[in-house]
């Protein structure tokens, strides 16, 4: 089922943004600061009601779905990974089951599967306050996965992570996409986008500046016009890097 933004306008943030997202792909949204990346992601998650245009999941407008229906289809990982109470990793991950209202056994199985998928079994009993940044990011993603959504939308999940943890989390996203889940991630690091994305949407001042496979959407001309940076790609395959200047 496709997730489509049709001429979405959010006053002061987005102007007639059109984007069709296909499931089973890792889509990366990038753009300079203030380009509207987070707003687009929130609109795709149904958290921001567009002032004009609409976001559709398959045949349905997001606004027509109940909160619970939407929650079961679309998992959203906010940028600020807040956890108000010092719960254990297992309790945290299990919160992802809230929209489902399924029997405890089903919830426990889904929680276990999510912990498994992110190699968190050993940490299940640890309190969130004692986790490292990388472990915490994994636990928060596991919360989303426990809800077994068809879409996973994550706002800058890699921002606070070191190189190794970025690669590990990206590998998890890729695996999810391989299982048919639609994964949409806001990323600042263009090299990560270039090497890992199936599809890239570049936003600039509230509009789509480029949209396509990474080597097209992140072509050197786009970098020059959107970021105002003279840069070129070096290397090849999945190990390209950006040489500035």
């Amino acid at each position: 089922m496709e997730l489509v933004a049709e001429a979405v306008t959010v006053v002061g943030r987005l102007r007639e943004v059109r984007a069709g997202l296909a499931p089973g792909r890792l889509t990366v949204i990038c753009g300079p600061n203030g380009a509207g990346k987070s707003t687009l992601l929130s609109a795709l998650a149904g958290l921001v009601e567009p002032d004009a245009g609409r976001v559709c999941l398959g045949q349905h407008r997001l606004g027509e779905l109940t909160g619970r229906e939407r929650a079961m289809a679309i998992g959203y990982l906010p940028q600020a990974g807040e956890v108000a109470w010092n719960v254990t990793v297992e309790t945290l991950v299990r919160l992802g089951r809230l929209p489902h209202r399924t029997p405890a056994k089903v919830d426990a199985a889904a929680t276990m599967a999510a912990l498994d998928a992110l190699d968190l079994n050993a940490l299940a009993g640890r309190e969130v306050g004692t986790l490292s940044g990388g472990e915490r990011a994994r636990a928060l993603l596991a919360r989303v996965l426990a809800g077994q959504p068809r879409w996973v939308l994550a706002d800058e999940p890699l921002a606070a992570l070191d190189l190794a943890h970025q690669q590990a989390l990206l590998a998890h996203f890729r695996r999810l996409a391989g299982q048919g889940v639609g994964v949409v991630v806001v990323v600042h690091d263009l090299a990560l986008a270039m090497n890992h994305a199936d599809h890239v949407i570049v936003l600039d001042r509230g509009t789509v500046a480029a949209n396509g496979p990474p080597h097209v959407a992140l072509a050197e001309e786009v970098l020059a016009s959107v970021w105002g940076v003279k840069a070129r790609w070096v290397g090849d395959g999945r190990s390209r890097a950006l040489a500035i200047g």
Binding site: R70, A80, V83, A84, L95, L98, L140
Partner: protein, 331 residues
């Protein structure tokens, strides 16, 4: 301790201590003394008309304060939150003070009825504020809390005005004594009024449990999980308002219970707000029941120690301890 066992342990303690607290007081009633007190007419009156309604009321009010404290902390995601923050308690107190001020309080139902009217007025004001222009949950919570604080200080000022304008020294004494909060001389009338309202409020808060759990992850994540911020706000106004209104109308202003109890209970649960509700209700009931019995037993010149004062004496150092713990990032 097994986490599922906590409510059972607390309920058992409550059942064990309840009869014990009935025995305690200025007059000790020993049930194992076949010749004496428990079977005399005096003892029957003391038990049935004085101590039993008082103990039941302690349980009802304590349960309401404990659970609404847990719900408020979950709602505001702040361990320092307290059911008094919405301003419902001071407005209920204002209603009661006005009934004493105007001398209506000689009627059996006048004081609690006016306290409830004050609480209802506070809830209506909060509801008007809450249903105002659409704000995000973030703006909503901050606005809501500030509005509650504004209502609190307004009610406080009006209460002080009533005290300063008290028509006679008798009314003045009555107002000041009532404001301290106590369960002395309460009757089955008070129970009949407070118990159903508290039960209703607790049921509403119980229903809010899953939404409060979702809020653990922050407002955006909670909304992405299907939380309806407006519905939750209504549930909080209704639940906390009913419980606190009923509590104040029955017992006056009793502070710190709603703050302390969820804290004491939290480490023994999985820390989700919803798993705190039942244990907090039971622990609040237990705390008020025992504290009231101790107040009754303490020999004090000029009557007994007021429950509200006793709990504030206990609560203030606890609050300080909590602040210090929070500073070290332990709470």
């Amino acid at each position: 301790m097994n986490r599922a066992a906590l409510p059972v342990v607390l309920a058992t303690l409550l059942l064990l201590l309840f009869p014990l607290c009935l025995m305690a007081g200025q007059v000790w009633i020993n049930p194992f003394d076949p010749a004496g007190a428990p079977y005399s007419a005096n003892a029957t009156v003391i038990l049935a008309q004085l101590r039993l309604p008082r103990a039941v009321l302690a349980v009802v009010v304590g349960a309401g304060l404990g659970a609404s404290g847990a719900a408020m902390q979950g709602y505001l995601r702040n361990p320092l939150a307290d059911p008094g923050l919405f301003g419902v308690a001071p407005l209920a107190a204002l209603g009661a003070v006005l009934s004493l001020f105007m001398g209506f309080a000689v009627q059996p139902f006048a004081l609690p009825a006016m306290a409830l009217a004050g609480a209802a007025g506070g809830m209506v004001l909060l509801a008007l504020i809450a249903s105002g222009p659409r704000t995000g949950l973030a703006g909503g919570v901050a606005l809501f809390t500030l509005a509650g604080m504004m209502l609190s200080s307004l009610a406080g000022a009006l209460t002080s005005l009533a005290i300063s304008l008290a028509p006679n020294p008798f009314a003045l004494t009555e107002i000041v004594t009532w404001l301290m909060g106590a369960l002395t001389d309460r009757s089955w009338h008070d129970v009949a009024l407070a118990a159903p309202l508290t039960a209703l409020g607790l049921a509403v808060l119980w229903r809010a449990g899953p939404s409060l759990d979702a809020l653990t992850l922050g407002e955006l994540a909670a909304r992405s999980m299907g939380l309806d911020p407006a519905a939750l706000r209504w549930m909080m106004v209704l639940g906390v308002g009913l419980v606190v209104g009923a509590g104040v109308s029955a017992a006056g202003v009793i502070g710190f219970v709603g703050l302390m109890v969820p804290h004491i209970v939290r480490p023994f649960t999985d820390r989700r707000p919803s798993s705190l509700l039942l244990p907090s209700a039971l622990a609040g009931a237990l705390l008020l029941l025992v504290a009231d019995a101790l107040c009754r037993c303490l020999p004090l010149a000029g009557g007994e120690l007021r429950l509200g004062i006793a709990l504030s004496l206990l609560g203030a150092p606890f609050f300080l301890h909590l602040l210090l713990r929070l500073r070290r990032g332990l709470a």
